[in-house]
Every structure is written in structure tokens, then in C-alpha cells.
Symmetry: C2
Subunit: 245 residues, 2 copies
């Protein structure tokens, strides 16, 4: 196994060649530490870098005119973040640390170079970005068409399931370093209502809470409640061309 976080993630989808691994590792040449609560990048900032998360959790969020906030996505090690700077010269959303950690910044030109030299990786990255868009579709339906309890359930499941992919940590138990206000900003609810709904989820035996550690007790029922679909389980890379010699 390579020491590249990103290569490790991608190898879950596809067996990589040594040349591909090396090219990916090059994206992680530089390192930058961050601290819990730190704002890594603010929306509107000029930005021509993207980041690979090596360690720690982040979230991306939009700040609206009236001071409201929408959390878009929670990010884990192995995630590629800040990708909107590929399309715009500046950050479309803010990026804030949920825990201490490390990320690896690289210039968007390095991405173009990667696409030039490794078209199979380019296709894979496009494929993964489509899978992530589908996850976003599910979130949209969650906010648009389900009630508070289902939205919270869906958020918790998404976090647990994606956390599980990277293999670290237990199956159903995660320390989620988010306040109830954060959860509200991710689900479109107030912290007060998040509190009440999580109490009900606990009363109904679906989850357990102590501190900000959340344990999924009955994943099946939670999946039903949320209408959750695990998209990551169904990713299909079988059609990709053979690696270049």
C-alpha cells in the first residue's frame, strides 16, 4: 500500500498501477496542518488549489446573506475537497475543520497534468465526482421531501457509512465532532429541534448518545426511517479501460 491517502481511497474502486500510484502520491507533496474550528478557506477567497484530506474531519458550508448557514458536506481522510476552485478562480463555499488534521494542497494545474498523463485516472475521478453528485441528489431529496427525524437519520447514516469506507473505526459507532447546531445547519433545522428529534431517536432505540459519540443501534430501522440508499456500495468501475502499459 502506498502512503498516499488519495491512492488508498481510489484503490477501493480500482487496482492501481505503480505509475498511477506515483502520480497520485505527487499530489500529496505538500502538507498543511489545521486545527479544530479553523477556517481553511472562506467563500469568495481567491483559490486555485484543491486539497486532499489526509487526517481529520472538515465540512464545507455556505454562509447566506442573512447570517444563516448551510452545511453541504462532511469530509473525511481520502476525500478530494475544494474542487470548486477548478471551475472558478475562487472558493464557492467555506471550508472549516471539525477536528485537528492534515491536508495536502496542490494547484489545479497539477490536476490537468494528471488528466493528461493518466486518462484512466481522469475517468475514475470523473466517475467518483458523479457518485458524489448522486449523494448530493439524495441530500436534496432528504431536505426537500422528508421530515426532521428522517433528515437527521440520513445525515448520521451518511457519516457512518462513509467513515466505514476508510476502514478506520468501528462498524456502527462514531465519535461525531459536531454540535447539535452543526447538525441543524446540515439538515436545515434549528438546534432546538435537532435536540428533540435526537432524543426521540434515542427513546425509540435507534441510536445511543453520550457526549458527541453516537452509536447506531438499529441500522436497519434507521435506514427505513431515512429512506437511505448506500450509493457507495454500488459503484461500478468494471467498464474502465485497461491501465496503460
Amino acid at each position: 500500500m502506498s502512503n498516499s491517502c488519495f491512492a488508498t481511497r481510489l484503490s477501493h474502486f480500482l487496482a492501481l498501477t505503480p505509475a498511477e500510484e506515483a502520480a497520485l502520491a505527487r499530489l500529496e507533496d505538500k502538507e498543511r496542518q489545521f486545527e479544530r474550528g479553523e477556517c481553511i478557506r472562506h467563500q469568495g477567497d481567491p483559490a486555485d488549489e484543491l486539497f486532499i484530506v489526509r487526517k481529520g474531519w472538515l465540512y464545507s458550508h455556505l454562509e447566506l446573506d442573512d447570517g444563516k448557514r448551510q452545511i453541504l458536506r462532511i469530509n473525511f481522510p481520502g476525500d478530494l475537497v475544494g474542487t470548486s476552485s477548478v471551475a472558478f478562480g475562487n472558493a464557492s463555499h467555506s471550508l472549516t475543520a471539525l477536528s485537528d488534521g492534515v491536508l495536502c494542497p496542490f494547484d489545479r494545474r497539477a490536476l490537468a497534468e494528471l488528466f493528461e498523463q493518466h486518462s484512466r485516472l481522469a475517468t475514475l475521478l470523473f466517475l467518483i465526482s458523479q457518485a458524489e453528485r448522486v449523494a448530493m441528489d439524495d441530500r436534496l431529496a432528504s431536505l426537500g421531501r422528508t421530515d426532521a427525524k428522517a433528515r437527521i437519520a440520513a445525515l448520521l447514516l451518511d457519516i457512518v457509512v462513509r467513515h466505514r469506507i476508510m476502514g478506520d473505526g468501528d462498524l456502527a459507532e462514531v465519535e461525531i465532532p459536531m454540535t447539535q447546531e452543526d447538525i441543524g445547519d446540515a439538515t436545515g433545522l434549528t438546534s432546538v429541534h435537532v435536540n428533540r428529534m435526537m432524543k426521540e431517536l434515542k427513546r425509540d432505540g435507534l441510536i445511543l448518545r453520550e457526549r458527541n459519540r453516537v452509536t447506531i443501534l438499529d441500522e436497519g430501522r434507521l435506514v427505513d426511517l431515512a429512506g437511505y440508499i448506500n450509493r457507495y456500495a454500488a459503484v461500478d468501475t468494471s467498464w474502465l479501460p485497461a491501465p496503460e502499459a
Copy 2:
């Protein structure tokens, strides 16, 4: 100008070489007609094709367990749709026609081939898919953190602005072939409430309605109300490598 709808769209972002144009045109070899109301593809269907929309409007939507529906996105000529079949062997969402039209299906392997032969186009397609993800982020914030009137305003603006990009039709006036129920399913509201809010938008002099033709009367105030950001105006392709010889 080439007769490829997709090349025309992409040339709004970047001057294409003849070789690139030819490669894009090849994606539109096949044609398929569709009729208003027709379901082009249903969620869960096996799918290894994507589509370029040549003519007409479509929408993608999720159907939830309880019969509710979330409309994800309205699609116009020049759009690349059905991209989730790149990541999965089947359709993650349904695709339904809002009007009669024509689309061009092609196999996902053709995409891999394009990425192999034209890395600059690969980078451009990745870039555009990031811009579309950002538009999705805005929609998430709209549903999660704004009220009914703002959501409807944002939807109307998004439709008008994206429609304008392709240059067909007038500046502010569009015939929107959606029922109020459709608008509700796109904004996470009921058709009854859509009706009341659109009446207010009309009363306040922001829009005009007759039949399903909607005219934006005061785009500035509508933008303020919705907190709308025109992301398409800010796409930056200046950093892409020079075209291959």
C-alpha cells in the same frame, strides 16, 4: 460553428480545436426522439449510456418510497445528462421529458475514449461537472435555509439564466412547461403553497404569469429575494493547458 450541440455548449467556455469538435460530434452520432411526459429512463433501470440533449426540456427526479417526488434539475439543449450511469451500472434517478425533443445517447466507454484522446476536454468536462455541483450546493442551501418565496424565485432564476446561456429565446421571458405541482416537487413545497406564493410574486410586481409563460419583471429584486448567485458567469477556464497540436 459545428452542428454538435455539445460542442456549441463547450465552446462557450473554451475555443475548441477542429479535432476536439470532431471528437465531440461523434458522441452525437445516434439520435432518439422523445415526447412530452415520456419517461426516458426510470430510476433503477440498468443503464450504461449517457445523453446529450439536443432539443427540448427534461427533468431528473427521485421517487421516494412514500410516493413523494423530488425534482433534482431541469435540463436544456447542450446539457449532458444521465451521467450517474458512469458511476453505477444503473440509473440513480428518473429522467422525464417536459417537452417534445431529441437526445443523443452514447455508451460510457465512448466517454473513456474521449478522455484518453483529448485530455483537455476531460479536464473541461470535470471542470463543468464541478460547476454543476456548485449549482447543486446552492439548491441545497435554498431548500435548507430559505423560505417558500425565495425557493421559487431561485428556481425561476436558475431556469431563466441557464436558458439564456444557450442564447435561444428572450432575456427575461420563458415559457416554462411545468405545472405548479412540478415546481413544488422541485422546491420541496406543495402545489397549493406554490400557487399562493407565485400569486404574491405577481402581486409584488416581480413576475408576470399567463398560462405557463413566466416573465421576470424585476430581476434585481428577484435575485435579492432568492439570494441567487449566477455561478455560470464566473466559470474560469484560463488555466487549462494549451490544446494539443
